[in-house]
């Protein structure tokens, strides 16, 4: 177990005072308001309720904040490369190849009119000069790596022909085929059945660990993050409330984290009423 805030070796990603603003006709919406962290080859969890800015953080790292949003930061560095001064084209080349993302629901995040195999192979060929044959071989190997039993058959299937769990494994294969250093997993199991959630998480964990990647695991599931990650950032209203080692989550000091923990139902000690969250505007000051 690593101590909080001190990842080993040189960090993969450093963020200082990240802000994401959307300029709308009715005023500026501040989705992320000053988030700082650094990521090593570890599993970093980001938890928070809907609208806390956790997904926007992931998108900002990938330079995928849609118009009219803007990303500001004092420092944003990937392995010594300054992301803030980098041009759009170079940022694009980083995507997939260096920093990648698995999204929530494979039903919507796979293109319905292309076979899953085409989509995996495409992710490889964007970054590597490879013949279609070679890309296909790679894709089949990758499908095996995410424990799909008949890769050659699945390669030819369309997204609507695969189950949710299989779809998410395809998604993982697609996002890891170019061998990125950082994977952002944005609620990767929220759309899946409970029974396949663990299976998909196990595959994700094995790949991330064996490849020595840094993982940013975005979730609203405290239990999951506690058992799956090394460190946890608790976000509220676009800000980090506190950062803890996953094992110390139960001993959290911040009233918001305590509140979140208090809301969780516990099968062993059922409560008649679940606590509701108290949100203090002073936290966002």
């Amino acid at each position: 177990m690593r101590a909080p805030d001190t990842p080993l070796e040189q960090p993969l990603l450093e963020l200082d005072n990240l802000r994401v603003n959307f300029h709308t006709p009715t005023g500026i919406v501040r989705a992320v308001r000053g988030l700082s962290f650094s990521l090593g080859r570890e599993r970093l969890g980001i938890v928070g309720e809907s609208g806390s800015g956790k997904s926007m953080t992931g998108r900002a790292i990938l330079d995928l904040i849609p118009y009219p949003g803007e990303v500001l930061a004092d420092r944003m560095v990937y392995r010594g490369q300054d992301l803030l001064t980098m041009d759009k084209r170079s940022r694009r080349k980083l995507r997939g190849r260096h920093i990648s993302m698995v999204m929530q629901d494979p039903k919507y995040s796979l293109n319905p009119v292309h076979t899953v195999g085409e989509q995996i192979a495409e992710a490889y060929r964007v970054h590597h000069k490879a013949s279609s044959r070679e890309a296909r071989e790679r894709s089949l190997t990758m499908l095996e790596a995410v424990q799909i039993r008949e890769p050659a058959r699945v390669y030819e299937l369309y997204p609507h022909e695969v189950s949710g769990g299989m779809g998410q494994r395809v998604m993982i294969a697609m996002m890891l085929i170019a061998e990125p250093d950082i994977l952002i997993a944005d609620e990767p199991t929220s759309a899946l059945d409970v029974t396949v959630q663990l299976q998909v998480l196990k595959i994700l964990d094995d790949l991330v660990t064996s490849r020595g990647m840094g993982l940013i695991f975005i979730s609203h599931d405290l239990h999951l993050v506690k058992s799956f990650c090394d460190r946890v950032i608790v976000m509220y209203g676009g800000k980090a409330m506190e950062t803890l080692a996953a094992g110390e989550l139960e001993q959290a000091q911040h009233p918001y984290t305590r509140g979140l923990l208090g809301c969780l139902p516990d099968l062993d000690h059922p409560k008649a009423t679940l606590a509701t969250l108290n949100r203090d505007p002073a936290w966002l000051a």
Binding site: L64, R95, D105, Y108, S109, E122, H127, H160
Partner: protein, 319 residues
């Protein structure tokens, strides 16, 4: 198809136009009138007339046109290819320019390319065809001399090309009459462009709205995450999906043009289906009206069938 037959037949028989008068003229003697009436089979009850008509249709006999004194099938064989040619080139123009324009408008939603596309669309919808056609003739034919004038082909090449398919350009190309081909093309391009502008307006607006929907989908973000270029994301991922509903839209607009555009055909003296039917209607030439309507119905059904098949090809979910 049977329903269509019945309805058009009834309408043609019920309207208060005396088809006999159309044949014999206003000043005919009563015995001539009576003979013509019997010849046309109008003395029999309506249902019997209908049965006889159906029987004839199945043997490919749509009756004789009063106006041209030829079999209606022969007339249609002559006029439909002219309309087909016009509608096909018009649709090709509309689709090949309308799709890129719509994509551009969707990608730059709310910014100047979108505004430009909107204005072009508005023009295409709202400028009356007869005005546009006349102005086009005035400018490109009379002033600049870039294109041929009214009619399908210049007088010099009249009857140069033997009709085989009836589509002038195809016939000319098959017979190696390239000069006639280019002359025909120069006559065709302006009316097609006029029809094409309408098709372009429609296709580009629809493309824009389908593309906006597609560009908001999660798979578009996923494609960007993979590091794909924006051009690939737009054309290969988003447009490929937007194309699924677009197939229907294009097919419908094509079918619409295939009905024959009366105004365009009139202005350009184009011997097409729209003008044929209108002429027939104005002269109470009921066999021709019925035949023409039947062809339109068949074309509509055919194009819809084709678009269903095509839709199945482009959308794996419906296979």
């Amino acid at each position: 198809m049977f329903g269509l037959l019945l309805v058009t037949f009834l309408i043609a028989r019920v309207i208060p136009i005396d088809p006999v008068l159309a044949v014999v003229g206003d000043n005919a003697r009563p015995d001539v009138y009576e003979k013509a009436r019997l010849d046309l089979g109008l003395d029999k009850p309506l249902w019997q007339q209908f049965v006889i008509y159906i029987g004839k249709v199945f043997t490919g006999n749509l009756g004789t046109s009063v106006l041209t004194a030829q079999a209606v099938t022969e007339d249609i064989k002559r006029v439909f290819p002219a309309t087909l040619e016009l509608a096909t080139l018009g649709t090709m123009i509309g689709v090949s320019l309308g799709i890129p324009l719509g994509v551009l408008a969707a990608v730059y939603q709310g910014r100047w390319p979108d505004q430009v596309a909107r204005v072009i669309g508005l023009f295409g919808y709202s400028i009356p065809v007869f005005w546009l056609g006349l102005m086009g003739l005035l400018l490109f034919y009379a002033k600049l001399g870039w294109v041929g004038g009214p009619g399908r082909i210049g007088v010099a090449w009249q009857d140069f090309v033997t009709p085989v398919t009836g589509v002038l350009l195809i016939d000319a190309a098959m017979q190696g009459e390239w000069e006639a081909f280019w002359d025909g093309f120069s006559h065709l391009i302006l009316p097609s462009a006029v029809l094409g502008l309408y098709s372009l307006a429609y296709v580009s607006r629809m493309t824009r709205s389908f593309m906006i929907t597609e560009l908001q989908q999660q798979y578009v973000i996923a494609a960007r995450v993979k590091g794909m270029s924006e051009a690939r994301v737009i054309w290969r991922h988003a447009l490929r999906n937007a194309f699924v509903p677009l197939v229907t839209v294009i097919a419908l607009s094509y079918a619409h043009l295939l009905e024959g555009s009366v105004l365009t055909e009139t202005i350009f003296a184009w011997p097409g289906l729209g003008r044929y039917i209108t002429n027939a209607l104005l002269n109470a030439d009921m066999n021709a009206v019925l035949g023409g309507t039947l062809v339109i119905g068949a074309v509509f059904i055919g194009v819809n069938l084709f678009s269903d098949i095509l839709g199945r090809l482009v959308d794996p979910r419906t296979r």
